[in-house]
Symmetry: C2
Subunit: 516 residues, 2 copies
């Protein structure tokens, strides 16, 4: 372990000499710091609405309660905390959950193996992570197809190279060519070796959560993991009001190891929650209160992120819909409710229902991304690459979304009113009827004044036409190829790489393949 | 004139019997009421920033001044009001402009010939109008081509049939097949006869503004026009700080006739204003103050809308860019500054730089539309159909944008927290682990619960694929054809139609054709 310990020390010391040298040369893989908002949140619920919804959520917890099926240990924890237990139903006296969540931190650091990539989750920050979960991928060459581990690795590389994504995410797509019971190992290995950004652990079985913790201990050192948060994992609530034993088992592993869990209702409004915004907000708040409280019963102080994944439904077809006004209102409203609990907030993303990265995808995703910024989201999963209601991870959509995330950074920075930004000298110099293109202030500032897209087309019509009259999808495909062609892995000690590969090989050899 | 007077009385009395019957049958042409916002505005400037920008704007007006070239009458008006005049430069003592704008109304009614379509411009309202000015049109069949009067009429019809557009706009595209000096007459005739929504007058020459007023007097009656606002017209400021005589001439006609003018800097940031957000906001405020003040010198109390058309620039190519973060910040900030002046605010739109109604168009337009809603805009020109930086009016983009405007209506309505919307009975009925699809609350509310797109695709992948794997553009093309096929003109008294056509024919016969 001396090599690993050495590597660990190097990391904690902000990179050894080799790492520092490699970082200096990898200029094209610059990552922006996570967003610190300098603009206000949009607060759509007034005081009366907040009071009604918070009161109703307490009523739900007390009168209806929540279900923790197949989980006697959870029922014991709840009973000890003062809840009323009938079968698997847990009813919480008013105020209990709100009291319990107080031990969860309002903000925490998730460490990356490259400390320059550490993120602060909570407060006025916004951390952006790629799409999570699609079984399919799409690109212009291969069309829509089942995702493989090769696709997964491409998305990890693209995320690593994307300036505006701060986090490597988790299941960026499902590597369906790897057995179900083993793919978490390959996914973690890819995040750990192909990127140096922070990442997520597995939640599909408690044992896979434990494997995630064990691999993290190799990468970061066991002592470091005991004392710091190095993973943020997605624990969905089975709405309405049900906390299934598999997800809770994963939560228990992460909380016990002081690792962060996103505790998140997964709601298609009208199906898993009432068809009304206020009703959905009420149920979401009750679920967040119960879920985060439970994490604190496992280990007081364990970091938790209150989540809300909410879409509306097309009442004609039953299909989930994205980028809709109801989803926006729920996302804004949940933000207010979560801030009043003092918890970090996960929501939003580049959501769309479109089958293609076309205009529908653009409208819906921009609606969602803007709303996420203004709703005060702290951790935005699915910020890039989401297509077709989350069934598909699109390579072209990924680079389009990632590009738009740069615009969010700029808006979030707010308005600079320094003497230079006031530009009074420029206005005096140019005067009525002049133009600013050549003035001193413009010359001094034009390089950084405006956000610039790396994907979208700004050329005159004639130039664009001569170059093939390409759609955004075609332009994005060029960028995907360019980025993948430029990829270089972040430096890693060979001993560390060997140890991680060895762990995965040994684990995989110990199990038969399972494909369902 | 007795027929016309009769028609006028019918209008003022909320439609005669024939009109009422026609309205009842024209169910597919329902128009939503203008938006009354029940959500807060996003205020990105803090008190210090507001104070700096407002102070600097006053300094600009006092020290640098504004130019009113070739307009001795304007200089006389300014001199009488207390300004310092040197050549065509007008310098305003601090506080003068802010005092003068006080006579402009904070909100006013723009009347439509169908009083059910009247709009209130100002306060917490948002009125939506189509694209203005493109010399080209595009559709999937004909590609990109010069716009004609036939195209113009199609856009007026589409706007009339669009539920979410409240206003017929003005130059929805340039009918390039009609002589420049006559096309305003045909455009006005189309707005007046093919639609019953409120519309805009011509500004390209003072005489054309007068023609607009004269035609409005036929449609509404001369007395009615004297006492009410029936047109809202777009008067651009020639930034920086220049008020050209043609535009001011149009403004003088409208203000003298108590008709509304949008007084609007047209700014490509970095060219016509400083490259910084704060500097641009300062110049915009100075220009608004001078322009609206001038309208009040012409006629105190004349309705004015403080405008801001602001884009950023691609510093590599010099091309204007749309849907960018800097434009958003300027739009948000100008909203705050204008509200502090107590004036109605015009800004935003479905802006994009894309050549096609593709993903770029979707992202950029959604960025702009959302920002417009949250910036507190009162009159949104270009809300539908804008493509390629405003060079092109796109039929497919028009129906896509118009569809998204429905989503803005829904968000703007805010969160209903009535007992029914709280849905506590539904949450009790369903309980943990159930689903809401069949519950009583869902059955009672599902039809109106969720905004539903008329363009976007929500079908399962397989269905969509079998139906031809259509892009949003292809789906929108179907909707364009469907709407145009369903068009029926709003009822109009034959005598009125004859009078309007007669005026136009007579005017056109009195002039030689001019094409530049």
């Amino acid at each position: 372990m001396s090599d690993l310990a050495e590597q660990r020390r190097g990391r904690a010391g902000r990179g050894g000499g080799a790492a520092r040298r490699a970082e200096r040369t990898a200029v094209s893989f610059e990552t922006a710091r996570f967003i610190e908002r300098n603009v206000p949140n949009l607060e759509i619920l007034n005081a009366e609405a907040l009071e009604i919804i918070e009161g109703n959520a307490e009523t739900i917890l007390q009168e209806i309660g929540v279900a923790f099926p197949d989980n006697p240990a959870a029922l014991d924890r709840w009973k000890a905390a003062g809840a009323d237990i009938q079968g698997d139903r847990v009813r919480l006296p008013k105020g209990l959950a709100r009291e319990l969540v107080k031990t969860a931190p309002g903000s925490f650091t998730q460490h990356a193996r490259n400390p320059a990539r550490n993120v602060e989750i909570g407060g006025r920050n916004l951390v952006l992570a790629p799409v999570y979960g699609p079984p399919f991928v799409r690109d212009v060459n291969g069309g829509r197809r089942y995702a493989t581990m090769a696709d997964f690795e491409k998305f990890v590389k693209l995320t690593y190279m994307s300036k505006w994504l701060h986090h490597s995410g988790g299941t960026v797509c499902e590597p369906t060519d790897i057995p179900v019971n083993k793919r978490h190992l390959d996914m973690l290995l890819a995040h750990m070796t192909l990127s140096d950004k922070p990442f997520m652990g597995s939640v599909t079985e408690p044992s896979r959560a434990q494997d995630s913790v064990d691999m993290a201990k190799i990468l970061f050192g066991a002592d470091f993991v005991d004392q710091n948060t190095v993973m943020t994992s997605l624990v969905n609530i089975n709405s309405p009001l049900t906390f299934d034993a598999t997800m809770m088992g994963a939560l228990e592993v992460y909380a016990a190891n002081n690792q962060a869990a996103i505790i998140s209702p997964f709601i298609v409004g009208g199906a898993m929650a009432p068809v009304s915004v206020a009703g959905t907000l009420t149920q979401v708040l009750a679920e967040i209160l119960a879920g985060v409280s439970y994490s604190q019963l496992v280990r007081p102080g364990a970091p938790a992120i209150a989540g809300a994944f909410v879409t509306s439904i097309d009442m004609n077809s039953g299909a989930p819909t994205f980028g809709t006004p109801e989803a926006s209102m729920i996302t804004y409203g949940t933000g207010q409710l979560v801030r009043r609990l003092g918890l970090p907030y996960r929501s939003a993303g580049g959501f769309c229902g479109s089958k293609l990265p076309d205009a529908q995808a653009g409208y819906e995703s921009a609606n969602s991304l803007n709303m996420g910024l203004l709703a005060g989201v702290n951790f935005m999963l699915h910020a890039a690459g989401w297509l077709e209601g989350g069934l598909v991870a699109s390579f072209e959509k990924f680079v389009m979304d990632a590009d738009q995330l740069g615009a969010l950074h700029k808006i979030a920075a707010g308005v600079d009113v320094s003497a230079d930004a006031q530009a009074m000298d420029a206005i005096r110099e140019v005067g009525p009827g002049g133009h600013y293109l050549g003035c001193a202030h413009t010359q001094a500032n034009f390089k950084s004044a405006f956000w610039r897209s790396e994907v979208l087309d700004y050329k005159p019509f004639e130039t664009w036409d001569e170059e093939g009259a390409r759609t955004t999808e075609a332009l994005a495909a060029v960028r995907v190829e360019k980025l993948l062609g430029q990829y270089q892995p972040p430096p890693m000690d060979p001993g560390m790489s060997e140890a991680l590969h060895g762990f995965v090989a040994e684990k995989k050899a110990s199990m038969p393949d399972a494909f369902s």
